[in-house]
């Protein structure tokens, strides 16, 4: 954004179209000189040697559009980017919050101009009509049922048709929407495809066109506007608590509690900061919600750059779950609640994935037998250790190590008395370990059903001369080398006390 604001004028942006560099956008000064989009770059330079031309960057354009769409969330949660240059807002039910449709449009345009954009906006009853009006007409607000009058004089391109269809229509002399409004439908569809009629019907409001929101719409939202932007952390937290108090009433009515929350802070210069926080049980308590954001803000530190301040704060509950009303202060539940609060605080500061519960999986392969899953998600889940214990007793499983390496580490200089027997000494991390006691082997078959399953492993519990105990395994068998299988390799997988 900055680059283009400081760029010299007249300015044009060009893009490649086949082998030709064509102008895709020009600024106001260039427009006054008679340059338009679609002109060849060489020709434009010949006409005005002083012209500054820059190559286009579509990815950056898309990002900018997304960021702007994000910012537009201050008007309605239901919106979608309409690439390459549009944003669709569903303002049904929101306009009165800004003093009516006219005021909302004025406010939006004033702020956009303030950011340095040349923007046009139109309000209509269908996406098609609004898009056509914003791009091709001066009409600001089109009342329902007036779409025919609005669309009639506009070019067919306003219907969001492909350029091929527009060209084909032009060849038979159909240039304006009014030209096809009263034509018989069947021949039109036969000749130009069903798409033409569908877009026409959508623009006229005869067919409903749903808007696919950019972001899922949160079930509970509370927001606060500030006449004077806020920038201090304490103010943000106080706002969170105020908003949470308002959400609490709404949540209580439907018996819900928040599992995931999002705080959106709208900066005055159009940047939107989003801070998410999760909980392990549904919460409604404003104090608890504030405490979560205390940790989040502490973890983010300088990343929350308030700049000239935030002029709108919105707290939304993105995931809500039924929250039974609980008695407070009686017995064991209190402990559980306290643990949940601790888990939430740790997750908020360190990250959700860093606070985990161990979950037993039904797998005989050691590294797959257990997984660390976020504790917030697993607070009430069955972790599967009961089944593991039954299995351990049934199968008389040999002891497993206390500490386990995520990737087995290769060990070298392994010396065994018989080829497939237990090791007598081995070298791990450059240190030689002499084995004095061994238990095993325990054969664990590889995942033979999978391509990456690997060979069978023979696990040994060994103790070295110093008393260190390890869980080693040999992948493969020496006798299999006769079948042209690769040479077995030794690994260290875990440590015992």
């Amino acid at each position: 954004m900055r680059q283009w604001r400081e760029a010299p004028s007249p300015l044009a942006v060009f893009g490649k179209c086949g082998n030709l560099d064509l102008l895709v956008a020009v600024d106001a000064a260039a427009e006054r000189l008679g340059l338009t989009a679609g002109l060849a770059l060489a020709q434009a330079r010949a006409m005005h040697p002083a012209l500054t031309a820059m190559p286009e960057d579509q990815a950056a354009d898309a990002r900018l559009l997304e960021a702007l769409a994000d910012w537009c969330q201050r008007y309605t949660p239901l919106l979608a980017a309409d690439p390459p240059d549009g944003i669709l807002l569903d303002i049904g039910g929101c306009a009165h919050l800004f003093g009516g449709e006219e005021k909302l449009r004025d406010d939006l345009l004033a702020r956009m101009t303030g950011f340095g954009f040349t923007a046009r906006a139109a309000i209509a009853a269908s996406i098609g009509a609004a898009s056509a009006a914003a791009r091709f007409s001066e009409a600001a607000i089109t009342p329902t049922d007036d779409e025919r009058d609005l669309l009639g004089p506009l070019p067919l391109a306003a219907l969001r048709l492909s350029s091929d269809t527009v060209a084909a229509l032009a060849r038979v002399g159909l240039k304006r929407i009014g030209d096809i409004l009263d034509l018989p439908r069947a021949p039109l569809a036969a000749r130009f495809g069903a798409e033409l009629l569908r877009m026409l019907d959508r623009a006229l409001g005869r067919e409903y066109e749903p808007l696919t929101p950019r972001l899922p719409v949160a079930p509970y939202i509370a927001e606060k506007n500030f006449h004077e932007p806020i920038a201090r952390e304490e103010d943000v937290l106080a706002t969170v608590e105020r908003l949470a108090t308002r959400l609490k009433a709404a949540l209580a009515v439907r018996g819900d509690g928040a599992r995931r929350l999002e705080l959106a802070l709208f900066r005055t210069d159009g940047v939107v900061k989003r801070i998410a926080a999760g909980t392990s049980r549904p919460v409604r308590d404003p104090q608890a919600i504030r405490a979560l954001f205390v940790e989040r803000l502490a973890a983010l530190g300088d990343e929350i750059d308030p700049g000239f301040g935030f002029d709108l704060a919105r707290l939304s509950v993105t995931i809500a779950e039924p929250c039974p009303d609980e008695q407070i202060g009686l017995g064991g539940h209190e402990d559980q609640a306290e643990l949940d609060r601790l888990v939430d605080r740790l997750s908020a500061r360190l990250g959700r994935r860093r606070v985990s519960r161990l979950v037993a999986h039904d797998s005989h392969i050691p590294e797959l037998a257990v997984a660390a899953l976020p504790a917030q998600a697993m607070a009430r889940a069955e972790l599967g250790w009961e089944a593991f214990r039954r299995f351990r007793v049934q199968a008389d499983l040999s002891p497993r190590p206390l500490r386990f390496l995520a990737r087995p580490e290769p060990i070298e200089d392994v010396f065994a008395l018989v080829p497939d027997g237990p090791p007598v000494r081995f070298r791990w991390r450059r240190a030689l370990h002499e084995v004095i006691a061994v238990e095993g082997p325990e054969r664990i078959e590889g995942a033979w059903w999978s391509e990456e399953g690997g060979p069978a492993r023979d696990y040994f519990r060994v103790e070295d001369k110093a008393g260190m105990r390890f869980w080693l395994f040999r992948a493969g068998l020496y006798r299999d080398m006769a079948r042209a299988l690769p040479r077995p390799r030794w690994f260290l997988h875990g440590m015992y006390a």
């Binding site: 643990l339 609060r341 250790w385 214990r389 351990r392 206390l402 000494r425 260190m468 006390a497």
Partner: protein, 291 residues
Amino acid sequence: MGTPARSAFCSPAGAPAVLDRLRRELCAAEAATGLTPDGGAALGLGISAIDGVLSGGLGCGALHEIAAAHETETAAATGFALALAARQALPSCESAARTGASAVSTRITGRYLLWIAEDFSLAENGAPYGPGLDGAGIAPERLITVTAARDRDVLWAMEEALRCRAVGVVIGEMRSRGIDQVMTRRLALAAAAGDTLGLLLRTTPHDEPSAAATRWIIGTAPSFPRAGGGDERSHGLGPPRLTARLVRNRRGHLGAWIVEWNSVEQRFELATHSEPLAGTAFDRPHRAAVA
């Protein structure tokens, strides 16, 4: 309170009792001021020699440092810390343990165990492994693991966890050097406030000042083969043995012991019947053959 003490001093037999009583009173007075938080219920190791030195056991609401003698022996130090954690959960279900039919009755009730570790330490020394913990008497259901990128975050998380009443034991595993004494002080106070056992697990020994109630250096020791392990060529591994050196103790003397962890009864035993001086090669013919 002066007179009975004086009269007791007259008889030499009464002196230890008086010393004991005075020590207790001193402890109580200190605990009341909140200045030396090494109090709380005592967690005995189950060995009278060690528990005597600790005047009853480790303080449950206190911070203790456990360091591995060498980084490669971190698993041994982990085992010691986990054994303490398992014992800490013990009293609440002692009857269940006594009647328990299975060899290791894993306790699922009780307060939670939080294991907070630095990423680097986990990468180097391995992460806690559920099936192994379950075998060591720690119910994975009661375990919450936390990882942190910086030592600062480990200490912060430890302090938060120590203050939580739902947590019984906090293990903080750190690889970095230098922990500020002020920080250990904060941890000790938090442990006292939450009546939580705080264990600072370090991968190498340090001698910096600390507010911890005790400091242990744990190393490995060769196990004594199981009695009646029939096969001559390869006998099994005996119960794990550790060398435990108590190098700092706010309550009394120091000491060094070789202890053996009895996983069936979940208690330590003093390793009496073999000092690994001469016996090892003699008992292990397969090794003699190699040499």
